[in-house]
Amino acid sequence: MNENGVSIATTNLTKVYARGNEKVISVNNVSFVIKKGEFVSIIGPSGSGKTTLINLLGCLDNPTAGGIHLHGRSIFGNGKRLSERELTKIRRETFGYIFQNFYLIPTLTVMENVMLPLTFYSKTGTENGAYNLLKLLGMEHRKDHLPGQISGGEMQRVAIARAMVNMPEILLADEPTGNLDTKRSEEIVQILRDLNRKVGLTVIMVTHNQQLARYADRMFEMRDGGIYQIDSDRDCVNEELA
């Protein structure tokens, strides 16, 4: 595997869950490569394994088999399992996460929510990043508001700022627009697109919305745990926008 320019790669990645006596293969022998600065979307029906895949990519879980390479470094491989502490270390150095339910801390202001990751881990040069990010996302006027005082779209912007405050290399977005209307959904995906283009951030977005998925450089579809790249000569929103 040519590791130059590769952000994240998987080889035969597999996750099997036990449901009672039954074994469910959620992710089945998935191998793909995502380059640095790429915006990739993963679509698929419910239960197809999208979220399991993104959780494995984001080191939120150990795979049953197969491996993940981060910038050429093998994370899991040969059945190696990582402890929660080791997983956290990789997560905080590499990934930013946004979720469908935003998961903002209700007692902290917008600004405090964005700064929260810095309480636990701070990369050099991130000290003044929180305000700049809020400004970049048009949320600086809401910095002293509590999450309960802002709209869903705004909450997701705050969640994006929080995910970005430690300057991650890869942003993982699991159904980031699942709780938003069409207009706000497009705004959020456009923000992800802008971050991808302006900062060179690698973005991996899981969505069930095919229209939004087309903002990505490449689209994958998951079916029954397997992954398939959708024809690259499709109408791409990014190309249209460009």
Binding site: L60, R91, Y103, I105, P117, F120, S122, A163
Partner: protein
Amino acid sequence: MITKFQVALKNLQRKKIRSLLTLIGIALSSWVLVSLLGFNHGYETALNKDVDNMGFQLMIMAKGCPYEAATMMLKGGTGLRYMDESIMKDVAKEPEVEKVTPILMTAVFDPNKGESGGIAGYFGIEPNSFAEMKPFLKFKQGGWFTDTTSYEAVMGFEAAELEQREVGDMILMPEKNVEFKVVGILERTGTQDDGTIFIPLKTTQKIFNRPAEITTIGIKLLKGVDSGRLEEKLYQLPDVQIVSLAQVKETIMKLISTAKVMVLSIAIIAILIAMVGVINTILTSVWERFQEIGILKTVGAMPWDVFKLIWIETLILCMIGGVLGIVMALILARVTDMVIRSILPYAPGGGLVLIDLKLIFITLAAIIGIGLLSGIYPAWKAGRIRPLEAIRGDVG
């Protein structure tokens, strides 16, 4: 940057009533603990002061219950027994004895004392030997009697305040209808002397028709002598008993030890209840924030970071509760004093609940230590939450 302390503090403010109730629980146990320790310390100090301020180490009294006699000496009372004052001369000859002083304790019913009258104590003394025994007695006004047969009185600080008398005023001894001229008023001593009226020994013997009789001989020993040997010798004297004030102290401390054990048990129960309250509050709060804690781990918190965060919450609760309890104990020390006084069979003069800086730090350290101990389990549970389970909502 937002600190872990700020995050913890803001979380506690989320459920204000619950946090407040937990705080009250901790404050109450802190109050009980500091008051108990303050009582342990204060009672002993007050008793030592009371006994030491008597000025003598041994007392000779007419035969009867020695503890009743000692209590009477400390507290005043009726049912007195008498002995011949000639015994004093034999006692004074002993080589271990530095000084002796005779006392004739008397008690009369004063219908104007309290709501339904009460016993007023008059001590017949010899001013020279008595004053030598108690060099710490200072006069606010006037001085001792001019001679041992005069109708003059020296009033303790509180007795003078109660009777509203000054030097030169007259006081009437109830029952006997005898008037005394106040020649001296003592400064406050914080002992039973404050409530006593001293009159000349000879005058007292005459009024109460007890010629050459006394109730007590106070004995001051020479420094470093063996009081046990002297006690043995004095027991040879007929119809008297020897009361060692060291024994009295010990006996009184033994008598109140039961009360101490009871209060200590209450304090331990209060602390256990507070501990359970803290564990319950923090654990409930951890389960309620299951997803949030998972997200904290997603954004970079290590298990130890989460543990610390939850532990800080416990620490905040215990520190605020502990300080509140100590403030309550300081403010209510007088009330506690009164309650304890009403329960105990004998309570020395002065404050029974003595709360000093050392005690405050000990209590605070104990409360914080107990709190941190209570916080270990919820903090450990929180530290073990896996982000994936939290995002899925698999509470458990």
